[in-house]
Symmetry: C2
Subunit: 609 residues, 2 copies
Amino acid sequence: MKKIKSVNYSDTVITGGLWKEKQKMLRDTTVYAVYDRFKDTGRIDAFKCDWKEGQPNKPHYFWDSDVAKWIEGVAYLTKLKKEPKLEAMADEIIDNIEKNQGEDGYFNIYFTVVAPDKRFSDRDCHELYCAGHLMEAAAAYYEATGKRKLLDAMCRYADYIEKRFKIDKDTAFTTPGHEEIELALVRLYDCTGEKRYLELSEFFIDQRGQKEEALNNWSHGLYNQSHKPVREQFEAEGHAVRAVYLYCGMADIAYKTGDKALKKACERLFDDIISKKMYITGGIGSSSCGEAFTVAYDLSNLLAYTESCAALGLALFANRMLRLDADSRYSDTVERILYNGFLSSVSLDGKSFFYENPLEIIPYLHTRDKSNQNRTMHWPQMQRSEVFSCSCCPPNIVRFIPSIANMMYTDDGKTLYVHQFMQSRTTLSRGNKTLKIEQKTRYPENGRVSITVTGGDTRLAVRIPGWCENYTGDTVKGYAYFDVKDGDTLTFDFSMKVKFIEARPEAVFDCGRYAVMRGPVVYCMESVDNGPCLRDIRIDGGARFKYGKHASLGVPQLTVRAYRRENDEKAPLYSVKHDSLRETEAVLIPYYAFANRGECEMQVWHFVK
Amino acid sequence: MKKIKSVNYSDTVITGGLWKEKQKMLRDTTVYAVYDRFKDTGRIDAFKCDWKEGQPNKPHYFWDSDVAKWIEGVAYLTKLKKEPKLEAMADEIIDNIEKNQGEDGYFNIYFTVVAPDKRFSDRDCHELYCAGHLMEAAAAYYEATGKRKLLDAMCRYADYIEKRFKIDKDTAFTTPGHEEIELALVRLYDCTGEKRYLELSEFFIDQRGQKEEALNNWSHGLYNQSHKPVREQFEAEGHAVRAVYLYCGMADIAYKTGDKALKKACERLFDDIISKKMYITGGIGSSSCGEAFTVAYDLSNLLAYTESCAALGLALFANRMLRLDADSRYSDTVERILYNGFLSSVSLDGKSFFYENPLEIIPYLHTRDKSNQNRTMHWPQMQRSEVFSCSCCPPNIVRFIPSIANMMYTDDGKTLYVHQFMQSRTTLSRGNKTLKIEQKTRYPENGRVSITVTGGDTRLAVRIPGWCENYTGDTVKGYAYFDVKDGDTLTFDFSMKVKFIEARPEAVFDCGRYAVMRGPVVYCMESVDNGPCLRDIRIDGGARFKYGKHASLGVPQLTVRAYRRENDEKAPLYSVKHDSLRETEAVLIPYYAFANRGECEMQVWHFVK
């Protein structure tokens, strides 16, 4: 079997539909909004490395990574369409990086201006994490602009890291407290061909969990996946973003080296997540305590932490797994995240962001501990913010949306795998042949997808979405295979009948309740459309959903017959069950569109009568 | 209208049924078990006041109150039936109190041996709370044994408190951080006839909330009901035990003085609790954060804090309100607490206790934050303990059960109000007449109650339980009135048909779920009877409940047809709703009997099909 390769985002133009809109929003608004907030908060100027004690905007040790992700996003945007203004903004930052890089190659704002004596002494201080994001930015920026300045700087830094960690071994820790550099070094290797970078990534992966090296504030290695050697890790544990970034690196190394034990660990970790620890939106990391995976089936909707970066990271991991195996459990997961837990993280106007993405909001509960300040519960945010003190999510969105076409295809030279459906044109080089693939679709508005291939014959493997029940052909691991000739068009019509979804009985917070999905999109209710006490609404399980457009939000909506109890102000707190209900209409909108009209109740899991 | 008076517990002998069993258990086992644990932990010997820095068992500032409640319980036991051994144990403690009391009348272990310079300097250190419990014990012990030693000592202490707080006003705070002394001073007044004690109670009540006097660790007065003058408090706020103890004191003063504003505040506070902040078990105080009332309808079952002392305190408050108004909303609440949230607090063997009384337990959730130690959630205890570092609940149970007949009757000299039903004989003096009232009943096993009055004619007002739907006579505020002649017997047969109960729609944690009640008793399921995933069980809403006896627990049980989803290990986490269910039988036991067979799932609110 031939090796499956990625098809790069830059070979695809998204020509219509939801993702074209989102890319336009990103290009016109979000990339500037994030920059402006980073400017306001001192993150941009921090790269001048001239901060002094007593001045405002003291740099934090993860600021490098925030801006690095923004630069990476600019690279993708500019690769798709020149953006001289953005490029100039990025260049200025890059100039500062080069100027303030140590002779030895070291670069980190915090450990230059705040704690210059503490270099590589604290495993919890994100130095290697920041380095990784800078490396990713460097590769992306070089590939987009041909400019080598950041790339060269980051190669020097990588060389220095190799020297300190792998050769001299004179650092206070062996592996990063927050993973990221593992996958970034593979990226740097892909960009430069320098095998030492791949080997350094392998080094960090292999060393992880070989000996105890806890973080300052945490009692043991579960939190940052250091509790076991990675090849023995089969259950997703600890900080969810760290976890999936590590798994990305593991998948990269498994792909590059053919390491079977690593591949098996990746498969088992992935299955552990999607079968026990993932919300229906694709969100992961149930608990605010450590922003972490917890135990199997602990999927509280009200307390869901489900950081935007974690959902996005799981998509990156799943997408990497598609190079190891064309199995739709990976691409279905990518899709679940794209249309739900990822897309919810940015407001419809593109200017504000969720760090946490709860699956249910009942505002009054958030004020429960009003008489005290000690040990109050943590509740997820109810409205998006423009910037956070820990602002990892906004720039992650900036780099993710322009490169989303990375998720669409893989190719093994004989078979082109079609994972995601977007109105688009793609150019694929195969030796001396160039295939052109055009998708015509209004997906996910409807399930009709036409795929036309010109420029040659090929085998096509098309993902039949896991939620689709009307496809009748044969599939292998969720893909339907076709031999197509130059100019052929394949047309699919995935039924987007609205469905009630249930969770396994062990997922206690969903018991007795049902989610509503139409195609890949999870729908939610908000009280702004439905009035308060959403949990009192019972959707009529036999009624037909009407699909339409939400008048004020401009997003799709579903309406359906439903019932509620009479609102009797005088009723006692507890009374004998009565079954008289009044009829009403429930209005549902895509989960990704919630919280765009002020603070209100929201729910994903509904009661059905 | 004539003034309604209490009928003292000591005028009633409980001759059979559940409460006779519980009183026997208390007398044979619990009172010794609590003493032994207090001995082990140093609480008993602490009264010698010879602890020195560096020694084990450093006294805590609330230890006096723990033991005082135990002495009070001994008094009630000995009043009902002589217990020389217990009396000797109490006398030894009382001797130490007298011996170590200051010349000035002050007594507090902590502020004698640990922080002798800090007397009355820290509002959060429970000095007046301890004093109050010692005063209650003193009055009870004198009434039971005729021994004055503790009473005299506590009168001296009360005099000293009056001097410092009311006359000299030289203390660092004006009102106690933890209420209790207010109701205790009224008790001391009732026992001694010394009006200054009543006036001192009024003083503390009146001063409360007149000016800001926060506790050390808390930001504002909501926590300990100091946010407003008490006559302006209409919503129950803050630490639930402090709150209901305060409300008891307010009700006492309203009763003694006829203060209408105070009575109105009590009524509104009571209604706020029972209509918005009380669990179906009578538990109150939803949050572990401050052991506090939170916001209306915040009644999480999984996180229910519902301290035993708070339930018991609400019963004391409700029972006091029955002297202000013969209204069954008070006596129904007493009953709800007695058979549920109070009785759950002690194990069936009488040796261990709940501090918290959750309404749902799903053990796996308690381990969710395994990878971290910072900011972990607080989960209620799943099993009862023999003693706690803060061990207020066990001795509160010791004093409550022997005096439970305090809840049965009130009398205004013309009408005898029958609030609770227990197999019993009561003697009631009315001027020169002595009435004898006998209740024959197996309540709450069944709803048949016969009440015979001999020794004279009287008007009887009998509570028709709020849950009872088959009584057809007239009632006034929930009471049926009858003129009975000497020797007459009234017989009632309250239907104990099992019912599904729903909560108001705003009580979100109960939405779509139903509690099962038979008479006053709330039933729960445990996984030890029903297998795991209790939330997956749907009780057949049309099926008949069978009432029987639980084979291993010896308590009543209900069995009923129910359904579950097939247990399919291979099912994905999320799948299309399917409606095929397998039939099963659900076993329910009284809530008060849960957690007597090891750690397992438990739930009070069930799904019904």
